[in-house]
Subunit: 340 residues, 2 copies
DNA sequence: TTGTAGGCGTTATCAA
DNA sequence: TTGATAACGCCTACAA
């Protein structure tokens, strides 16, 4: 079935394609009521849908937004399986569609040029999550489209940014534990990279300790990856050190979940024998037994805000303040922390 | 920064655009080694990337694949938050990119024409999940591109299909429970729609009961939605009927998770007081305490297979058998079922 | 082996 | 208020 084009509409309506184009693009003032009605009718009758490629070609804008999410370390698989990313993408897609744009979702291949897709499709803008090497950012700027970085601490006013105050979050978590009487607090975390989200949370943890005059013990830090498995292994290890610690702060709920399972499998009960607090408030935290206490950020909203910011930039109201927008954090008290 | 075009390459290499086009499209036999080298060099130097819109326009194929997933009932939010969908999308995206295609991920708006995006972007193919009304399928066929339906029981050889034997799965679950001595088995499920996945699982459950000469009691069926909340509420309700049932089969892990939490909040322990089996083996099942026994399907692989099938169809090796492909099912014994 | 020219479906410019 | 016509970047006969 051949798709119907603007020409078909023109012919059937007995007008030129210019006129049809005008009504399609809502320039009513250029068309008489009469022809407008006539054209609108054929438009409906034939159920005409403009070809986006053609449009994109002449206008140099595509109504396409790229969303880039990190992959597992072997670079094979999207991190969508991490609930954090699926929740944020969910928020992003909804908002994108609401604004009449279309979402391209992709990971980045290790060796290939990650920017191909930007140029290929003349993306109008992009939302990028996760951390990449410095050089990546320089290349990104050359593309010259609005870009929102989620949870990035890069210091470059070219980019729009959405994030949270991770240092504060880490501080809140540790301080909460301390307020419940805990002094021996282990930290379980993904790799602490300079200026990464995880480092900030780690720093917040340290600040809370200092403030309470608690000695910071590096042996209490278990650093590896943001995964259930890392948490699980650490839970197992930690079960041998029950004299040394009374609480665990995991810098991601996914890790915290693993920690709890690890403890459980060693016969150690949360929160009776040890307290655990997580970070993010991904949906599964409330599904756990016991439900997990955690630092909440509104992930879905984070996605939505990213899109709003991006579209503001694309459609150029021009009145956006670049730089960072920080979303609020709160602590959700559920059942995984006990006062001692 | 103006994007660089085939013309630029031609000019710089001192040849015509035809020649450039030929080398871009790998028609080496039409070009002398000499010019080939020269062009390839400028291609690299200028880091040329073909404009996909232009290509799509002339070739009528886009290298774009649409992936459509259901939304929550208010049609606002993608169901990506359901781990089942995020896992399958993860598999899909990886495979799509591996084949050099690009993924458009979208939900469908209630009132708008869901097919717009297909035509707008001349999608080369699509993968559709979830159930839609009959009429939807008729419209889909008119678009005339290869389409893979995931978990659909529609009977129309136009579509490629990937799924599992849901009836068998339901049967396996119930039979397993029965083999562990259970006779009073509640079913907690999303809405049972004719020819839907859920109905099949329900039917399997009934078959297992019959086979074991267990009276099927409609009062033991709790039908609502595929959600944690539904499971939770049902767990609460069921806790008042502990004499009547000894086990629960939830037709989705998400529901089962809720059921367990509901029980827990009523002071009833799984598996000591009641057994629970789920369906799907989404990633969180192993994170629960106790880890959940469930009917496993390989969700990630399901995504990958869908793409392979679709791309076979698009690139037209022509040797694909249409109709259904059923992926294997197995039972994963963890800790949520107890022998009685 | 290389180049010319027409066309894909739109929008935009300018003239009628 | 309407309509030719030239782009946009690319591919593909067909010619040279």
């Amino acid at each position: 079935m051949k798709n119907i084009t603007i020409k078909d509409i023109a012919k059937i309506s007995g007008v030129s394609i210019t006129t049809v184009s005008n009504v399609i693009n809502g320039k009513k003032e250029k068309v008489s009521q009469d022809t407008l009605d006539r054209i609108n009718k054929t438009l409906k009758d034939l159920n005409y849908i403009p070809n986006s490629s053609a449009r994109s070609l002449v206008q140099n804008r595509s109504k396409l937004i790229g969303v880039i999410i990190p992959q597992t370390e072997d670079h094979k698989q999207l991190l969508l399986q991490n609930p954090f990313y699926s929740e944020i993408v969910s928020g992003i897609e909804t908002k994108i569609r609401e604004h009449g744009y279309t979402m391209i979702l992709t990971g980045v291949d290790k060796n290939k040029d990650y920017l191909d897709v930007f140029i290929k499709w003349s993306l109008d803008g992009a939302i990028i999550m996760g951390i990449y090497k410095e050089q990546f950012y320089e290349e990104l700027k050359r593309i010259n489209i609005p870009i929102v970085l989620v949870d990035s601490y890069i210091n470059d006013s070219y980019f729009y940014k959405i994030g949270i105050d991770d240092e504060l979050g880490g501080y809140m978590a540790a301080k909460y534990l301390i307020s419940k009487g805990h002094k021996k607090i282990a930290l379980v975390t993904g790799s602490i990279i300079k200026d990464g989200v995880t480092e900030k949370r780690f720093l917040g943890y340290k600040r809370a300790l200092e403030e309470a005059s608690i000695f910071y013990n590096p042996d209490n830090v278990y650093e590896e990856s943001v995964s259930f498995e890392h948490g699980y292994k650490t839970g197992l290890e930690l079960s041998e050190r029950m004299g040394d610690i009374t609480a665990v702060f995991a810098t991601a709920d996914l890790i915290a979940t693993g920690v709890i399972s690890g403890f459980y499998n060693s016969g150690i009960k949360v929160p009776d024998d040890v307290s655990v607090i997580g970070f993010d408030d991904i949906s599964i935290t409330k599904m756990l037994i016991p439900p997990m206490t955690t630092i909440k950020q509104d992930i879905y909203d984070k996605g939505q805000r990213s899109v709003e910011k991006l579209i503001d930039a694309i459609e150029g109201s021009g009145n956006i303040i670049k730089n960072e927008e920080l979303l609020p954090l709160s602590i959700i008290e559920r059942m995984s922390v006990k006062e001692i």
